[in-house]
Symmetry: C2
Subunit: 244 residues, 2 copies
């Protein structure tokens, strides 16, 4: 476990999540390093182009180089490539915000988002990570688990106090989602979203597609229509590209 490697990445993570440039002192105490150690690592990162030091204040901030790397990685991502055209068709058809997400531990990771041309409330930014239980796409994937109760329990434990529901309620919710083929979420106030899982090679789901819209734009019949389109898209994706 090369400690210099792990320390440098810890520094990069801190800088990335900080947003604005950070003072060396704050940074070194945040990652738990001696000032001199953090300083040396930062100088290395600056030399490599990953970090920029403000000329006047001396503060350090992340450059765009990490983003360059990241873009190249996600650009080649097989799931994203496979789903791209299907997402676009779906987006055109329903005219609401369409997202692609993949499981990542007990979270889901948003890979892509095609925003609605109509006004929207809120939808997860690509690259953001959210506890699976809090999203329709995540719940759609959870509903595919072999042991629903176990999956629900772990997901609930990981969601913290942000999901106010009993285990029994959640299990019932997942059972219903499995029966229906898609999950519905009303966790974010004022927005309703539907998610559908896409099976992977391993048996567990490889991804999910979700559609979200302001509640007032979704009547009962809209819901049925959108759900049909969502399910059709997932089925078509599976048929043409096979298991992801």
């Amino acid at each position: 476990m090369d400690q210099a490697v792990s320390r440098s990445l810890a520094i990069l993570e801190a800088l990335a999540s900080a947003g604005a440039p950070v003072r060396l002192s704050r940074l070194s105490e945040q990652v738990g390093l001696q000032k001199s150690t953090a300083h040396r690592i930062l100088q290395t990162l600056v030399a490599l182009g990953y970090v920029i030091q403000e000329a006047e204040t001396g503060r350090y901030g992340a450059s765009l180089k990490l983003w360059e790397l990241g873009s190249a990685i996600v650009f080649e991502h097989p799931v994203k490539r496979a789903a791209a055209s299907f997402l676009q068709s779906l987006h055109r058809e329903v005219g609401e915000t369409v997202s692609l997400l993949v499981p990542s531990g007990e979270d889901v990771l948003y890979l892509e988002r095609l925003v609605s041309p109509r006004p929207t409330r809120f939808s997860a930014r690509p690259g953001s990570r959210v506890p699976a239980l809090l999203t329709s796409g995540g719940r759609a994937m959870l509903a595919e688990a072999a042991d629903l109760r176990d999956a629900a329990a772990r997901a609930l434990a990981h969601a913290g106090d942000r999901r106010e529901a009993t285990l029994a309620e959640i299990v019932r919710d997942l059972e219903e989602a499995r029966r229906r083929g898609y999950a519905i979420s009303r966790d974010t106030p004022g927005v309703v979203s539907m998610g559908c899982a896409i099976p992977g090679r391993t048996g567990s789901p490889a991804a999910a597609i979700s559609i979200s819209a302001p509640v007032e734009r979704v009547t009962q019949e809209d819901e049925a229509r959108v759900a049909t389109a969502l399910l059709a898209t997932c089925a078509a994706l599976q048929d043409t590209v096979g298991l992801l």
Copy 2:
């Protein structure tokens, strides 16, 4: 210059640009490391979640974690934030592909791209890096340099043989662009694009906005109309948010 740090980042860069998972042997010779050294670093990267090792083949590939970091970085990027709404208006108005790019050494880096709903030929992917001289946005920024001839010479040297033009021609081109307020590029066959620079605090340009479309969709009068919209957008951006 912590060598472990620089080596680990070299490995990550190699994995990111590789696209598909790579064998340890190829990787170690590519970055010029002993197999055992590369292996140890890879193990730490796996433990930290930046690298995934395929279970069956043993090959190594980049995970999405770097992309998560990168997304967080670019999300906070001041230029991108400032320009976002202006880009959208412009995109709606002209209906063609709109890009935002920033200078990065002798290259330009594409920050964002709003693709045209109509069919398009090719446009640079966000996160990609291109020699400044080969794009309209890059040339628009070059045209703002104090010493045009010097800037052109350096840009030309860096563009390699992909730009077939003499220094004199390029200088004339840049002079014209400066006079006009925007640059035109027909480097990619079949697509024409216009770029406009946005001045920064330092005096040198902070960013550029470009519009690109298939040649057959751009008549003489279209060109004038699009150019007007582009210039108006850049002016409005500058007026409302000030120098970037």
